[in-house]
Each structure stands twice: as structure tokens, then as C-alpha cells.
Symmetry: C2
Amino acid sequence: VRHDAGTAANIYDVAARAGVSIATVSRVLGGTGPVAAATRQRVLEAADALRWRPNEVARALVAGGRFGVIGIVFPELGGQYFPEVLAGFEDVAVRNERGVLILATHGRANSADLVSGLAQRVDGLVVMDRTIPDDLVGHLDGAGTAVVLLARPAVTGIPAVRAENLHTATALATHLLRNGHRSITFIGDPDAAPDVAERWQGLQQALLAAGLPVPDKPVPCELSQPAGHRAAAAMLDRGARPDAVMCANDEIALGVYAAARERGLAIPGDLAVTGWDDVPAAQLVSPPLTTAHQPLRELGVRSAERLLARVAGDRDDASLVLPTVLTIRASSASHDTHREVP
Amino acid sequence: VRHDAGTAANIYDVAARAGVSIATVSRVLGGTGPVAAATRQRVLEAADALRWRPNEVARALVAGGRFGVIGIVFPELGGQYFPEVLAGFEDVAVRNERGVLILATHGRANSADLVSGLAQRVDGLVVMDRTIPDDLVGHLDGAGTAVVLLARPAVTGIPAVRAENLHTATALATHLLRNGHRSITFIGDPDAAPDVAERWQGLQQALLAAGLPVPDKPVPCELSQPAGHRAAAAMLDRGARPDAVMCANDEIALGVYAAARERGLAIPGDLAVTGWDDVPAAQLVSPPLTTAHQPLRELGVRSAERLLARVAGDRDDASLVLPTVLTIRASSASHDTHREVP
DNA sequence: TTGTATGCGTTATCAC
DNA sequence: GTGATAACGCATACAA
């Protein structure tokens, strides 16, 4: 006499109501093994009446830890970048009938524990940036949780999915140089993410190749608009006035816009600005922002696909680099052709 | 002789290595019951050597379905709105040591099944918009999965968390009327979300109160920038030229900006525009966009908090309405004071 | 303080 | 075609 209220029915309740054994109930719902049509009908009706659905946890336990769930670990969740990656990831997951578990480490000290816990509840994990130490990555993958890395270098035996940074950054810097910008400041923290480090490196290489002085350090800055605003304000207010600033992402660049506007500086007349990511706002602001278009959504899609393949036993550990497209707009034009009255 | 490779160790392996029973191992790691210091030490060392962590699935099975995971169901994942809500939700979850499982229904026909499946793996679920039918909401809550509704009306016994819409929309429309805008078109689909329906209703009420003709239907439009662009283009190209458009959200409004710009129409000189949400881009575009600021992140925070309370047994079913702040910027100024040359 | 035995809800392997 | 029953990995009441 179960199924009073509050408590969900279990397989025994259904079996009793249909007058069969639990084995038969399991066969009917799992579609495994032969069942007489009449029996199947009775079981289905009983399950329906009791609103019973097999318990996923018990199912996962007997399956030896197959959950039908994949996870993704972000450093943060804000901004435009991570949500777009997540959207692509989720799309693939749902298409393949997998649940999606997410975690943002926020630089917490116990990130490794959090991720270890997460790994216990998923079939596989996409790990982004430097959210956890390399040895944990290796251990998780060795312990039966498939792992794919995202936006960071690969680890032996474990594939990474990334977007191109170095060459695109060099090309972007070269574009600025061609437009007559000589002093170029990088705003962003290379230690914040592998992607940022590569962009900074790309700028350095371009300056070196042009025979220009290479700044030894960037203006450190978080990847957010308020941080970009503050960093640019501080820079400009202490009298530093480069020809151009190359920002680690679009949000920083939009913060620079605000700082420049406050100080009556014209873009690109007084200061050329470039971003990275090509967020929707980049083409709406004025002047439209020169940036590098990363396939954000596709990063999520490809990493999810690789992860599902690995969960299914694929041992291919080749990394994947997705193309980034330089997107030139008005914010990086030469001073001469775009001088405006502030 | 377990723990060869590839396979994770279990509690028996650890117990054997430490020379104790599995009960003792369980006690040590769970912190339940008394254990001699020396024994505890041996167990800890064994667990460490085998890199063993208790299996969360088995643990959940024993606990009768307590997973330490909460879930949230979105209609979609794109745009600026959902990610921000998610960020707030995730923050509360992690602070309370809970995992986060997400699902976007994308209007799929089998959404109810997907959500039912999700409910099997979480302690509680925040359900947003009209992603699943009311009776399923009631059933889930009755079957042991705590439920909190978000951005939609409450169901008997189940609380909802929402942001204010009706009064704010009326106030926004009244603001437009005061600025001399007489014909106001609503762009957005009231059937898309309860929030949108209330905004549309607010406009109707304001027009009615002002004794002006009330349009019988809005211009239907998805909540995205491209859709807003298309809808506005179609409207303008068929000669309809209202004084003002009130958009269901900011993304639609930004699409209207693009359509207006293409046609040489000045905002607000030829067409006043308002949005909803106050996304970051709203203050960056020119002219800055008049909108209504919803506490997006707080919607996520509050719904997560209510959910955790319900998971813990709280039966309070009072709903919560968060304040929305009308944010007047230049895009809704009167025609006279802001006429610009296109 | 520690060990033994049972149950959580399901699937799968046997018999029948 | 169908029914017992043994795992799956862990927590815990009960014994010792």
C-alpha cells in the first residue's frame, strides 16, 4: 500500500499493481528483452497511474556510474563570453539526451575539491582555462571521468579545444602599425587566462618584427567593462597617452570608450581602440569596435562533441584550434583619416 | 587486489588497505560517529593513496535522493537575461555547496519528459516562464522535488519569484505620453512569456487612462536583436510610422535602432524607442536607451534561496515581487527637444 | 571504538 | 515470457 502521497512510487509498487515481477517492469520500460503485449500494456498502465519513472540515481549506480550528464567548469559565469560557450555546449548535450552540470570556480581555493565532487556526478567534464591544476586533470581522466580542455593548452593524452590567438593578435597589431599607430598599450592580464597571454604575446611579436620598442608589461586589468574603465582612466590620468590600446577583450574596450569619452578624447582620432570576441555591442557602439571574432558558440559545441566521443570510448587526443577572424571596424582607423572634434 | 588502473577504488579497497571495516571508513569520511585517532589516520592515508572519494551516486541512493544538486529550467539560454539570472543562481548554489544542473527547453515538445528526468537528479528545481505545464509543476513538488517558479505566476502552494512589470510598464508608457508621443506601438509577443504579457497590458492601461485609442494587437516579435530588426524593418517599410515603439526587451530595441539607422530615421527625433532589462549595451548605444532595470541577478539569487529553504522543508508559499526601476535616457525624449538631422 | 548486516531502486543473469 | 536474485557503493541501526 505505497504511493500514499509525497513519496514517489518505486518499481515494486508498479510491479504489484500490474501483477508482475520487477524484472518484467524493468524490461518493459527499458525496452530490453521480450514481453507479451498484454503484460506490457498492464505495466504501462500501472506505471502511468502511479506516475512512476525509473529512478535515475539507482539506474546510474547499477550502470557503474553512467549518469547521462556532462559537466563544464568555468572560471566565472558573467559577461558575454561564457554564456555563449555554455549555450553551444548545452545545445549539443540536450540533442544527445544528456543533462548539463555547471560549475564556476571563481578562483576559490577549494576549486580542486569542487571539481572532484562534480566529477563524481558526470560522465565527462569540459574544463576551461586554468581552473584546476594539470595533475587533477590527468587524474580525473584516468579515474574514469572523460575530460576535454577548453581555451587552454592540452595535457598529455587529453585533447584541448581552442580558438586561435597568437597569429590573429599579431595581425591585429600589424593592422594598427600600418595605420600609423606607433605606441600600442596592451590592457589585460596575461595571467588571467591562457588566451590573454597569447594575445599579449602576439602584440609583442608584431612590435618586435617592426623594430619598435616592446613594452615589458601590459596594463593589468580584469576582463570586465568596469575594470577596463578604471584601468584606462588611471592610465590616461597619469599622462600616459599611447596612440592605440589593444584590449584583452571587448568588455575592457567598451570600458576604455567610457573613459575616453569622459576625457573628451576622440576614438580613433586621439586614441585607437581594439577589443576581442566581437560581442553584439561591438558593432552597435560608435565608432564600431575593431575586434577579433571568436566562434564562441562553436567552442562550446566542439568541446561537447569531443567530450561525448571520449565518453563513448574514443581515445583520440588531438587538439582542435578554431579560426578567429580579424574584424576591422572604425575604432582602429588611422589618426589622420579619422580625426574628429572631441 | 583492486585499483589496477582506470577503475576507481571503492570503499572496500580502502577498508582493506587500512585494515578496518567499511563502516569505519564511512565514519571517518562522513565525520559521523567516533573513531580512534590512530584508526582515522590509517583510513585517511589509505583513501589518499587510492585517491578514493565516496561515490556520490551511491551516497545519494542511500540518502533517499538527496543529491546536493539543484536545477534551473530556462526556456532558452541565449541573450543577456538568462545568463545573468543563472549567474545569481549559481552563486547561491555554490555558496551552499550545491551543484547546479541546467536545462533549456527550447520549446521542445518533450519538455515535460526532460524536466521530469531532470527532477530525478536534483533536490529542487527553479522553473522559469511557461516551460512546463502547471500540473507537472504541482506533481513534481508533490513527489518530493522542491519547486520554485521564476518570472511567471505562482501555482497553488508553490511560490514564485518575479520582477514587477505592470506598474512599471504603465509608468513607462505614461512617460512617453507626457513627452508628446501619441501613437505607441508595442513590439513583442505577449504569448512568449508572462513578463511580456504584463508589459503589453501596462501599455494598454496607460493608453486607456489617457483616453487614447488602444491598439488591439502588438507587433509580434521574438526577444532577440535580429528579430527586432526584422520586425521594425517590416513595420517601417509598410509605411507604419508611430511616434514611439515600446519594445518587450532591450535586444529588440537595439534591433529597432539598426532598422531606424538604415532608413535615416533619428531616435528620438523621428521615432522614440524604449526597451526593458537595462543590459550593459543600453547605456553605450547612442542615444542611450530608455529602459526598465530589472534586478536580473537578484532574480537568480532569490529564487535559489527560496528553493534551498524549500528543500530544507520550509513550506512558505508566499510569492516575491522584486522592484523594477524605470530608467529614462535619451531615446524617449520628446520630438521637439531632440530633433536631429538624420 | 569497531564490525556485521541490511536496504536504497534499479538492471542483468540466471533459471524456469 | 516471466520470475527470483545477485550485484552496484555506500550509510547506518544494531551488536559486540
